[in-house]
Symmetry: C2
Subunit: 623 residues, 2 copies
Amino acid sequence: MSSKVTTELLKQLCQVMRSSKHITEPIQAYIVPSGDAHQSEYIAPCDCRRAFISGFDGSAGTAIITEQNAAMWTDGRYFLQAASQMDNNWTLMKMGVKDTPSQEDWLVSVLPEGSRVGVDPFIISADQWKRMSKVLRSAGHTLVPVSENLIDVVWVDRPQRPCKPLITLGLSYTGVGWKEKITILRLKMAERKVPWLVVTALDEVAWLFNLRGSDVEYNPVFFAYAIIGINSIRLFIDGDRMTDPAVRKHLQLDSTLEPEFKIQVLPYESILTELQAICTGLSPKEKVWLSDKASYALTEAIPKVHRYLTPYTPICLGKAVKNEAETAGMRRAHIKDAVALCELFNWLEKEVPKGTVTEISAADKAEEFRSQQNDFVELSFATISSTGPNGAIIHYKPVPETNRTLSMSEIYLLDSGAQYKDGTTDVTRTMHFGTPSAYEKECFTYVLKGHIAVSAAIFPNGTKGHLLDSFARSALWDTGLDYLHGTGHGVGSFLNVHEGPCGISYKTFADEPLEAGMVVSDEPGYYEDGSFGIRIENVVLVVPAETKYNFKNRGSLTFEPLTLVPIQTKMIDVHLLTQKECDWVNNYHQKCREVIGAELERQGRHEALQWLLKETGPITRMQ
Amino acid sequence: MSSKVTTELLKQLCQVMRSSKHITEPIQAYIVPSGDAHQSEYIAPCDCRRAFISGFDGSAGTAIITEQNAAMWTDGRYFLQAASQMDNNWTLMKMGVKDTPSQEDWLVSVLPEGSRVGVDPFIISADQWKRMSKVLRSAGHTLVPVSENLIDVVWVDRPQRPCKPLITLGLSYTGVGWKEKITILRLKMAERKVPWLVVTALDEVAWLFNLRGSDVEYNPVFFAYAIIGINSIRLFIDGDRMTDPAVRKHLQLDSTLEPEFKIQVLPYESILTELQAICTGLSPKEKVWLSDKASYALTEAIPKVHRYLTPYTPICLGKAVKNEAETAGMRRAHIKDAVALCELFNWLEKEVPKGTVTEISAADKAEEFRSQQNDFVELSFATISSTGPNGAIIHYKPVPETNRTLSMSEIYLLDSGAQYKDGTTDVTRTMHFGTPSAYEKECFTYVLKGHIAVSAAIFPNGTKGHLLDSFARSALWDTGLDYLHGTGHGVGSFLNVHEGPCGISYKTFADEPLEAGMVVSDEPGYYEDGSFGIRIENVVLVVPAETKYNFKNRGSLTFEPLTLVPIQTKMIDVHLLTQKECDWVNNYHQKCREVIGAELERQGRHEALQWLLKETGPITRMQ
């Protein structure tokens, strides 16, 4: 990788920071966070402003530019990449490393007295603003919102904001029509006596209106906001997407409708002025509901007395609990996904020994098999196809410079998934095409024990995911091993592969209580730097559990695997399994045989079916 | 229980709330929290102001008195007790019950516009103040500190603040002298560049100076504050305690000392003016370290720019990690405690069949046996001696009205502990003197499995206790059972039986990472309302664990039981145990035999020794 030359760009930016054409009063520093106006995890090219100004295109990082300095904060995953992508104008600030100053502290140390620090108020979240503003203020500086994005001023060939066609989803996919969703939402608003709600997260807008898009790679979302009133609906969306007859029909834009379901379509950019206008008309006790993760610009548009902030909107919570149609869709999607992976693994078993398969070609082949399936839309994230030491890089994505050939002597880890019109998948399998060492099998088996411990756990209704995290680690901990990531994340229904508000992690954020219908991943791992990586991931559905007793009538929950892809038994040291764990593996493989076997048969994929049957034979603990 | 007549008292209090003699401007409401100026869990009689004004003497509750109303907030443990102890002047506010208003919301709903709400700034913590003040202010009211406690004005026969003699602890008990502790503390202060630290928690003052007291029942502490400067020590303490030659010698008050170890003894009440004086002399960048749980009065005395607040002081963190002398002392204390309990259980086995033993007499007998042990000081909390349905009341304390006779047909639960000069104990055993039912055994065995799962857990250095909580519940969860309390709390070394900053709970507060030398309890339970209660509690020491591998060189930890009291094998359904669990029980009992057996022998307690040997025979899983 070569670094981007940024001298001229930074000079231009500094000029803009002083220019009365773009800013009322000069600023002495400008903050460029990652992210877009919707606080999305994945962003569109037009929003990659931090990458444009610095050259560093990792998924996490914040740039700050002053007259004299340019500094980049990023975490351990990206130290090497950032250092190689940025030129000498930039100072790398290694987050999590002792003595690295925080952004605020650094600003205080380099700025002249009474400085003004600018930031785009749509890109920074309200809570980040609050934290930074407090420190700057106490040191005599001011954090100021700069409404024109100053990177955009110097970014002459900045891509357009994507404005791709929309997909409408019928009741067979969504289970609940958008009008019914709005009605349920309004009930929640009435319960809290809040007459207005602002929807800022892209997946929440998509879910609410049963629409999907492709403005952001991997995430079937589109750029839009919505404001839901007790009697009105405003949708802020650009382009000619609303001229599509299918969309007009879906949203009933040309029908005679009860006025409370009439959608007022407004330009994307008008959200702020429209929200301000709504707030002007509020009576003293009326509130506006907004996620506390929303942008500073929208939060600030609501006068403090009218703000009703919660960590999650009722849309986020409703979206997390999949209904019957969504659950059925997720099952279908996972069956198709398993078919594609059986084809892939069968192909790999034949091709790897020839020495012609690389991490990239394997990933491409996986995509090819997936794309043959019905209702396939795109991948749900960049495929992690890694062998040998690359497997130990948790967020690895093969590129030509690192591309490694799959072999008979190294562990291969494939973490991949897809968007189908009926559901989103995310699955990791770890395999060996030759003979794994005893140590590799031992580690794999501990990871498997952890996977099973979570998957088979029974726990009370309303348990938070963080309480299950240790179950995944216990077998590793017993021998002094561990892995440095969470155990699971929420998964959307033909939506983002990572979604809130639930998960399974030692971290206690994004941790709303689990309830039946939620979908999360179960993905413990073990990584040996420079040698190999192991991860076993299923997407699992939270389901009611039958128990002998029922304390305080609370009811119990457990998980049902939606992912039905064989777990390589060759990698298992059966002596390390309990009988219960052994039974779990055999039952799981029996279900793979039945469900995926039938589908492979139906699709006439006989070779893959033979592979499935071979891989799902029962294992036994030798006594 | 009969209710206290409070009509006259409340009238007097309302007069005081308007009286210019006691308050500069009338207040319309007065808040009376539980607790003292040190935010102690256990309080002295002179600090039981909420109980005095209302009659309700449970451990948790907040009273608010306005011209027209008197209301009491308390939690589910105390609904019945509060209702029966308070007269009609009082409205019971059931916390945790839907539609119960918060204190702030209630105040807003009953107060006339622009009201002033008073509270003793020493009794309310800074964070409680902040929360309440914010809500009141946004509704147009003001929270005001009232420096004279208004309850004390109307409480004519209020007890004196206790001022009992002090105990000095030598190096054999503490391992580290107070001067060395001060030196270590000053290093921590220097690391953070903070020249001053205010010590407000009573157990922190006691630990720092290697002194103990008896001002508060069950807690060997004394009323005092300290302010540690880089070059000075101020101890705020009342009475003639500093005239005791042993104390003077211990603190070297009459010796020629390096000036930085010279203790300036000041009156208890002068803490505020002294702290204010210190703050007046601070240079702009100098800070004063204080726990964020300290009182509003002391927090507010430090100008905001000079405040350095952390959840825990370095004293709290240092105190939690027991050194070798403290660990050895804890071991000795637990051996003596086990001797006393072996005597008790042997006695109970003989006496219970006669039908003459009650919950109260059993508790008294336990205290009698404990008091025969060397260095016994007092109990460490009110003994929970409960049989049958009383066992299901988690914080039960037998009183004549509820006192039940122990029988051959009911489960007996004893949760008790003591303060010895060398350590603090806290142990729960559950037993049956006749034949337990299959269901009782089943539940007991699930609780035991949970106890073992925590006790035998191996986990990485620095793991937080909340990550271990589910291990204690897993066996119960599997059958739909659970218990509604945390699994463990920190235990002091001849100090408070509940101490921060670590614990094992599904709640994530008081949850600093576990490290070797910390001492916590392991006490899962199961409670069937109206029938029985089961709890198995050991105090355990965090110790390094030997593991096969050592991921990232982090090292691993596990627990070593300090409590060595037999677990009644009659209550165990061995078929529900794994071989590993069976081995754990047998190893534990083997250690009880060896260690406690030797001590019983040494003390010539032959009958109790026979009982111990009988109770610790190995169990086997019938194949």
